[in-house]
C-alpha cells in the first residue's frame, strides 16, 4: 500500500512538473506589462474593501477613474502601471498594503473607512509610499491624504427629487448596516425630502447586512405595498433586491422608482417598459482619483491634507435620470444654493 502511494505521488509529481513547464510559453506575455511600464515614475494601485471594483458602486467608480487616468498616461494594467487589489476579509487590508508596497506601487488608494488602521500603520512604516484614503480621515501623516465626500449633499438632492416626484407623499430609504457613512446618506435624504415637501413621510429601514438581497427585496416590497413610490437604496449588493422589487411593482401597475446610490444606476433600473431609476446620487470617485493622481504625478501630492468633496468640488453629484424637467430645474437650483452655502445639509439623522 505504502509503496503504491509513493508511486502515485511520484506520478502526480511528474505531471505537476511537466504541465507547468509546457505552459512556460505563456509566461512572457504576462510579463510584458512590467517592461512597458518601466520608466514611469508613478505606479498606482487601488485597494478596495470587501467588494471588488465591479461592485456597481464607488469601488467601480474609482477603478474607472484610475483606468482612464492610466490609459491617458500610456500605462498598462499590472506591475509598474496601475492595478487594483480586492480584500476578502477585514484582516486582509494590511497584508494587501504590504504586498502592494513590496511590488513598488508608490501611490495607493485605500477605499473605505475600514482601511484607516491599515493605512495608518502602512504609512508610518513606509514613508516613501503615498496613500490616499477615501471616506475617513487619517491625520498628521505627510504621506497620507484623506478624501471624504459630502454624500449628504447629493443625498439631499436625491431626497428632494424623490419627494417632489412622489404622488403618494411617501418615500423610503433602505440602508445596509447602520453606520457613519450610511448615516450621511440617510440624513441628507430625509432633510432634502422634508425641505422640498414638508408633509412627506420618509420610511427608513436597514437590512442589517450588505449581502442579503432577499431581505432587502422583502423590505422594499413592504415599502411599496405601503404606498411608498420611491426608495433610495444604500445597501451595497443587497440593494439589488430593491431594484427587483421595484420591477415587480411596476409589472403590477404601480409607478414606483428606485433612487440609485454612489454611481449612476441606470443600468440596474432598466426593464422592458423603460427605466425606473429615478435618479442616482453620484460619488465621483473617478474624477477625484484622476485629480489626485495628476497632482501626485506633478509632484504636488496633497499629503497631510483632508480634502472634502461636495457638490462644490464636483465630488458628489446627482444624475438627471428620469426626473422631469420641472423637478430637475428645482434640483439644479437647490444644488446651486448648497454650493453657495445658502443651505447647509445635516450629516447625522
Amino acid at each position: 500500500m505504502n509503496k503504491l502511494i509513493k508511486k502515485i505521488s511520484l506520478a502526480i509529481l511528474a505531471l505537476g512538473i511537466i504541465i507547468p513547464l509546457s505552459a512556460c510559453t505563456n509566461r512572457s506575455a504576462s510579463n510584458n506589462s512590467e517592461s512597458q511600464n518601466k520608466g514611469n515614475s508613478l505606479a498606482v494601485a487601488l485597494l478596495t474593501d470587501l467588494n471588488g471594483v465591479d461592485d456597481k458602486s464607488f469601488n467601480q467608480s474609482a477603478w474607472e477613474g484610475l483606468t482612464k487616468w492610466g490609459k491617458e498616461h500610456n500605462l498598462t494594467k499590472g506591475l509598474g502601471g496601475y492595478d487594483y487589489v480586492q480584500s476578502h476579509q477585514d484582516s486582509d487590508y494590511p497584508v494587501n498594503i504590504n504586498k502592494l508596497i513590496k511590488n513598488n506601487y508608490n501611490l495607493i488608494y485605500a477605499i473605505g473607512y475600514k482601511l484607516d488602521k491599515a493605512v495608518t500603520d502602512g504609512a508610518k512604516q513606509n514613508p516613501n509610499t503615498k496613500f490616499a484614503i477615501i471616506d475617513t480621515v487619517v491625520p498628521d501623516l505627510d504621506n497620507v491624504t484623506s478624501l471624504t465626500f459630502k454624500d449628504n449633499e447629493s443625498a439631499y438632492l436625491a431626497g428632494m427629487s424623490a419627494a417632489l416626484n412622489s404622488k403618494t407623499k411617501k418615500i423610503g430609504f433602505i440602508g445596509g448596516v447602520k453606520g457613519e457613512v450610511i448615516n450621511r446618506f440617510e440624513a441628507g435624504y430625509v432633510a432634502g425630502a422634508k425641505a422640498a415637501v414638508p408633509d412627506i413621510q420618509v420610511d427608513v429601514k436597514y437590512v442589517g447586512a450588505f449581502d442579503k438581497a432577499d431581505v432587502a427585496k422583502s423590505i422594499a416590497t413592504a415599502m411599496y405595498n405601503n404606498g411608498n413610490d420611491a426608495i433610495y437604496q444604500a445597501a451595497g449588493s443587497a440593494g439589488l433586491g430593491v431594484f427587483s422589487s421595484a420591477k415587480d411593482a411596476r409589472k403590477s401597475g404601480k409607478e414606483v422608482y428606485v433612487v440609485g446610490c454612489d454611481r449612476d444606476q441606470t443600468e440596474e433600473g432598466q426593464y422592458d417598459g423603460g427605466n425606473l431609476t429615478l435618479t442616482s446620487s453620484i460619488k465621483a470617485l473617478n474624477t477625484v482619483v484622476e485629480e489626485v493622481s495628476n497632482e501626485t504625478l506633478a509632484g504636488n501630492f496633497p499629503g497631510k491634507q483632508h480634502k472634502v468633496f461636495g457638490l462644490k468640488e464636483n465630488g458628489v453629484d446627482i444624475s438627471k435620470g428620469q426626473l422631469s424637467t420641472d423637478i430637475w430645474n428645482k434640483v439644479e437650483q437647490t444644488k446651486q444654493d448648497i454650493i453657495d452655502g445658502k443651505i447647509t445639509v445635516p450629516e447625522k439623522p
Binding site: D55, K56, K205, D214, A222, L240, F243, D248, E268
Partner: protein, 319 residues
C-alpha cells in the same frame, strides 16, 4: 398600513424569502431520504444562480419573456451536473458526506466568480439580467375576493409552484415505486441490495435530484431577487434550506412549511415595523427575531427530528 396591506405584504414577502429555500430544501430531502447527507446545498445554489444568470444574459433576446423560466431549467441542470461531484465522492469514493458537501460549498463560489471573471472580462460580478422573474397575478385564483388579493395577486408564482412541488415530491417519495426504492436505500441499503435494488443508482438519483432542485433554488435567487450573479447572491440560503429540511423532519411537505416558516418569520420582522405598538422597538429586535423564533419553535414545539436511518452511511457493495 391597513390590515389588508399587511396581510398581502406578509404573504408576498414570505414567498420572496421562502421560494429559493423551498426548492433547495426539497432537494435536500430527496438526497437525505436516499441516504446521502447534503451540506453542499449552498454550493449547489451558487452554481444554479450563476449558470442561470449567464444563460439569461446570453439568450434573453432569443427567448424573450420565457428567459427566466428557461434560466431556472438551466440552473437546475447545472446544479445537477455539479452535484455529480458529490455523488461520485460519496457513493463511489466512500467520502465522508460532510467533507464532500463542504467541498461543494468551497468550490462553487470560487468557481463561479472565477468563471465570471473569465467570461465577463475580469469583472467580479455579472451584468444585470434584462428578463427577470417578476411577480404576477395567478389567473382565476387572483379573482377570488379577499383571498385572491392576499394570496394570488402580484405574487411570486414560482413560490406557489414550489409549494405544489412539495406535495408532488411527497407523492413521489411515498406513493411511487421510485420513491419506495429511494427511501429504502436511505433506511437500509443492505436490505435493498438483497432485493436486487441498485443502491448506487438510487443514491445517484437522490443526489442528482437534489442538485437539480438546489440549482433551481439558486436560480430563483438570481432570476427573481438579485437579478445578477455576485459573490453574495447566495449568502447562507443553502444552510437555511438545510435547516428547513431538518426542521421539516426530512419530509418534503414539512420542509416546505419550514421554509415558509422562515420566510414568515423574516416577513414578520419586516412588517412588524409597520405595526404601531411594536414599531418603536429597537431595530436589533427585529433583526434577531426570525432566528430566535426559529430556535424557540424548534426546541419547544417541534422537538426531535430523526434522520433516515442510513443517512450519511457509506454503502459498500460486497463483491
Amino acid at each position: 398600513m391597513n390590515t389588508m396591506t399587511i396581510l398581502m405584504t406578509i404573504v408576498s414577502t414570505t414567498l420572496i424569502y421562502a421560494s429559493p429555500l423551498i426548492f433547495t430544501s426539497l432537494g435536500g430531502t430527496f438526497s437525505e431520504r436516499g441516504g446521502i447527507v447534503n451540506v453542499g446545498l449552498e454550493g449547489i445554489m451558487v452554481i444554479g444562480a450563476f449558470a442561470s444568470t449567464v444563460f439569461s444574459i446570453s439568450f434573453n433576446e432569443t427567448f424573450g419573456a420565457a428567459t427566466p423560466w428557461l434560466a431556472l431549467i438551466v440552473g437546475g441542470i447545472c446544479g445537477l451536473l455539479f452535484s455529480i461531484v458529490h455523488a461520485v465522492a460519496t457513493v463511489n469514493l466512500r467520502a465522508n458526506h460532510i467533507i464532500s458537501g463542504t467541498v461543494l460549498n468551497m468550490l462553487a463560489p470560487a468557481a463561479a466568480v472565477f468563471l465570471t471573471k473569465v467570461i465577463y472580462d475580469g469583472k467580479g460580478q455579472t451584468p444585470i439580467i434584462q428578463q427577470n422573474m417578476s411577480t404576477t397575478d395567478i389567473p382565476l385564483l387572483s379573482k377570488i375576493p379577499v383571498i385572491g388579493d392576499i394570496f394570488f395577486s402580484n405574487t411570486l408564482v414560482i413560490g406557489w409552484i414550489g409549494i405544489l412541488l412539495a406535495f408532488a415530491s411527497w407523492w413521489v417519495l411515498y406513493k411511487t415505486r421510485f420513491g419506495l426504492r429511494l427511501r429504502s436505500v436511505g433506511e437500509n441499503p443492505e436490505a435493498a441490495d438483497t432485493l436486487g435494488i441498485s443502491v448506487y443508482k438510487m443514491r445517484y438519483s437522490a443526489v442528482l435530484i437534489s442538485g437539480m432542485l438546489g440549482g433551481i433554488g439558486g436560480a430563483i435567487m438570481s432570476q427573481a431577487i438579485t437579478l445578477n450573479y455576485n459573490v453574495s447572491t447566495i449568502a447562507g440560503q443553502g444552510f437555511m434550506a438545510l435547516a428547513a429540511m431538518i426542521f421539516g423532519k426530512w419530509n418534503p411537505i414539512g420542509a416546505m412549511f419550514a421554509a415558509l416558516f422562515f420566510g414568515f418569520a423574516q416577513s414578520l420582522s419586516i412588517v412588524g415595523a409597520y405595526i404601531p405598538i411594536i414599531s418603536g422597538w429597537n431595530d436589533v429586535v427585529f433583526k434577531v427575531a426570525p432566528y430566535l423564533i426559529t430556535i424557540v419553535v424548534l426546541a419547544f414545539f417541534i422537538g426531535k427530528s430523526t434522520a433516515p436511518k442510513a443517512d450519511g452511511e457509506t454503502f459498500i457493495k460486497s463483491k
